[in-house]
Amino acid sequence: MSSRAQVYLLSFIFIFIGIGLTIYKNSELEFPLLPGERKAIWTVEAKIEFKATDKPVTVSFALPHNPPEMGILDEDFTASGYGFGWDSNQQERRAQWARRKANGKQVLFYKVQVFKQSDAPAHEQNAIPPVETKTPDLSPSLKTTISQLVTYVYNRSADNTTFATELIRLINDKEPIEDIQLLLGNQGLSKTRLALNALALAKIPARVARGLQLEDGRRNQKLTTLIEIFDTDHWVFFNPKTGQKGLPGNFLLWQRGGSSLLDVEGGESSKASFSIIKNSQPAKSFAILHGAENQAALVDFSIYSLPIEQQNVFKSILLVPIGAIVVVLMRILVGVKTSGTFMPILIAIAFIETTLITGLIIFLVIVSIGLFIRSYLSRLNLLLVARISAVVIVVISIMAGMSILSHKLGISEALSVTFFPMIILAWTIERMSILWEEEGPKEVFTQGGGSLLVATLAYLLMTNQYVEHLTFNFPELLLALLGCIILLGQYTGYRLTELRRFQPLAED
């Protein structure tokens, strides 16, 4: 078989499999083709890490328990070598992992899928009344100051809720009253602790609640602490750091009351961190995803089976081929000159972190300053590797300088400057500088402009929500993309720029 026929056959097979699987997944497994108005499913993964000390290990971890406004779809406990059980009481739901003997670093996972229940009632109907709160154990002087504060707030409130609102407002006031200043400053109390103490002295039932702000693609998140108080028949939430009343939007309440989030016996340096990812899929496909039904093999061996942290990484990686096809199209069909073949993709990935306009400005600033400094370095007779290393350091300094300057000026966007791949930038500066010396500024602008043009197009495509949805939910489309790229590799027609270049030849 000739190589040409092989190419056609191969690309046809790839495109067929890619599109075929996509259609199958769409029609049979009901994966939506468009990101649309489907119910958002949040997958939250808690990662528990600790160092076992060669003793029997018991890990007790608080789990979400009927979280308000959220429904739990599915849960998964992954810990090889550990026995699993429940450690619950009426107030709390806790998972318990145990093992006779373990040594070294241990990692346990808990994965939960939740969705937003928009029709949840504003107040819980059957809120469990709190157990009697104990008066906190405080030093006499502290107690006196806090009591003064309680009296002050009491006179300015009508009921428990207004008391708490006013208290937290005062604590968060830009210029707090003297008592609070003293308590927060000299006594070193945290805002949360102060509020809890004051509420306790005021005999208002209150407790700490911890939860997670659901944001797509987050890794290594920590829980946010809230305070809830009991007012006649329901709990009211407050954010002690902002004074905001009620639950924030897209908030998964993880633990209410209870002592600790995580207890580890037989281990040390334990910590829990959370990763979050959002899928826009109908609940039905999740049923298939986790049910042991016969069709599930395709799904089971998919990206969804990876831990969330890796899924988030893949979400970005799966966009790289999109950048690649833009490069292929722009080079083979249009004939745009770029500096470095795949540089535009790297720039585009940096743009995703910084947003387009900021990214363009940062890129231009860094490269122009870099070129300027590099032109001086070229006079110093340095060896190439040393010179590029010097440029790398210069690039890092420019980045640091830009970050600090923008921070002082209050422009937060430029802080994302760090996402630019600095070694690549240094090489770009070096190459452009050589290009400038050898072929003149015109060529530098042609290639630099070409790179930015391709990077911008790649960025626009890679950040398109439909593209993002398709690449992540239908990774088999990559095969179709591969087929297209192989086909394009055989394209022997003219490039768009050649139609201009050879235009004089076409004249009679």
Binding site: I332, G335, N381, L383, L384, V385, I434, E438, E439, G440, G489, Q490, Y491, T492, G493, Y494, R495, E498, L499, R500, R501, F502, Q503, P504, L505, A506
Partner: protein
């Protein structure tokens, strides 16, 4: 019209970049043969073996510590050329035409100090000009004493003749003349003048600068009408024999004319550009197809040159 239609270009037999890459370079140039042309030192050694004349190799600098000795080496010559063995597109070539007590002079008259030259050599060794930044070696070559026949047509730089050789047959040729605009460089896209040459006799056919036809050299004002490249058959034979020497099916041979030594092979290119079509005001494709569909032949180099002159020359 700003753009030509693809149809029209096809009809004129213009070879595009994609077709060149897929149908000629990938098909006729074996990957394993590339180092032979990508590395000028290897080209030179093969050429010497095949008795193809090239500018004399004076020295090779392989290690950074040898750069210290550069002063002793270059002081022996009045003029010389330092080039990277693996440079591409004429990058990193430093030509010194004159040496005085004040320093070294480029053809443009710009003076360089010894340390400038040492830095240049050091950059070459670090791989600054080589493809992919590979460590490289620097070659010091004898300066070509250019045939004065081109004096009227050249400004600040080196005139050279590019011949495209397909399966051993010369298929198209052009003379590249540097201009003030091209800063002494012979690359057409930088503003050098390309003069299409009649394969039959080496006479100028037409000339272009920046894609526009010109009748005279923009700096010297000499008309191209009377231009004829001397030693024409020798040039074609030299180019054609590069096929036997490298076995590359599609290649570009860059040839210069030395006053005493005649045509010398400067370098070979396994991916020659397509500007030659603009300089000749004609497409390459029909000629390539002609050679491609030829029946088996047992032609010698001379017979191939003759055949090309008859087929592609304009009488």
């Amino acid at each position: 019209m700003f753009f030509a239609t693809p149809c029209k270009l096809k009809q004129k037999g213009i070879l595009g970049m994609n077709k060149r890459n897929v149908s000629y370079i990938a098909k006729y140039n074996q990957r394993s043969l590339y180092p032979l042309v990508d590395n000028k030192l290897k080209t030179k050694l093969v050429a010497e073996k095949a008795k193809v004349s090239t500018p004399k190799l004076l020295h090779v600098i392989e290690y950074q510590h040898q750069i210290k000795k550069l002063a002793d080496l270059v002081n022996q010559y009045d003029g010389f050329v330092i080039k990277p063995a693996q440079g591409s597109g004429g990058k990193g070539i430093l030509v010194i035409t004159e040496r005085t007590s004040e320093g070294f002079f480029k053809p443009s008259g710009e003076a360089l100090s010894l340390s400038d030259i040492m830095r240049h050599a050091s950059n070459i060794l670090s791989g600054l000009h080589s493809l992919g930044g590979k460590p490289d070696v620097a070659m010091i070559e004898a300066l070509v004493q250019f045939d004065p026949v081109f004096d009227r047509y050249s400004y600040e730089g080196v005139p050279d003749i590019r011949v495209i050789v397909f399966k051993g047959f010369p298929v198209m040729a052009m003379l590249r003349l540097s201009t003030h605009a091209s800063d002494g460089k012979a690359n057409l896209h930088q503003g050098a003048v390309g003069v299409g040459l009649n394969l039959a006799n080496g006479k100028a056919l037409c000339a272009v600068q920046s894609n526009r036809p010109v009748d005279e050299h923009p700096d010297t004002g000499s008309h191209f009408e009377t231009l004829q490249v001397p030693h024409w058959e020798k040039i074609l034979t030299l180019a054609s024999s590069c096929y036997d020497m490298t076995r590359l099916g599609y290649l570009g041979a860059d040839i210069v004319l030395d006053q005493k030594l005649g045509p010398l092979l400067l370098e070979l290119n396994a991916r020659p550009g397509l500007a030659i079509q603009v300089a000749n005001n004609t497409g390459l494709e029909p000629r390539l197809t002609h050679i491609e569909t030829m029946k088996k032949h047992g032609f010698s180099v001379d017979q191939r040159v003759q055949y090309s002159q008859q087929q592609f020359g304009i009488v």
